[in-house]
Symmetry: none
């Protein structure tokens, strides 16, 4: 059979955002609403060829959408596909929430003990 090297970057959003430059593009699009390719080229300082190819990947995955405006292509984020990533990491949120909550509780307990022995007016832990 064929050996698999790795999944295509165009296969899903996770692969698409694995590339720092592509994340950068998404950040710019999110910050400024929508941008033409030429603008992105200027902002990023990368060759047009590279920018277009990264946009191509993001487009194939569906995380950006294009709007033809004359000879320009204006890109904007199609948030629905980014939501895929969000929905995946979200459940893990409780893992560090738990951790932080435990640390906070511990700190507050210690603060209360110290308050009892030394400083009666302090009752709040570090936020």
């Amino acid at each position: 059979m064929f050996r698999m090297a790795r999944a295509r970057t165009t296969s899903d959003v996770f692969n698409a955002i694995a590339e720092p430059r592509r994340r950068q593009i998404l950040e710019l699009l999110a910050a400024r609403g929508a941008l033409a390719v030429g603008t992105l080229v200027v902002l990023l300082g990368h060759p047009q060829s590279a920018v277009s190819k990264h946009l191509g990947v993001l487009r194939k995955v569906g995380v950006v959408a294009v709007l033809k405006q004359g000879k320009q292509r204006v890109y904007r984020i199609d948030a629905a596909h980014l939501k895929t990533v969000h929905d995946w990491v979200k459940p893990f949120e409780q893992l560090w929430d738990h951790h932080l909550a435990r640390i906070k509780a511990l700190a507050e307990r210690r603060a209360r003990q110290q308050a009892f022995s030394h400083n009666p007016q302090q009752q709040k832990g570090p936020s």
Copy 2:
């Protein structure tokens, strides 16, 4: 001289979770707390070699931690590094929230204005 092929999977969390099987491992670890490699091998149905290698990537990136127990290695999630991904996608959340339609409309209006201007360099959005 040096041509870059692609970023290493071990360079950051985004690359690490780009692989479906690695995401699957993280899901299992999150669901069941902590698991030995052998258990993961059984649950996943993949060769031990493959599982170990994927765990190696996740380990190097720091998204999992190991605990030696006898001749077993028990893996658990180190949530702090997953938070990196969460923190990155979170700002995009507003794009698919109830603001979605409004933002989209605004973006398209701005895009149309940009398309009318000749020089992409002079587009400095009001920050």
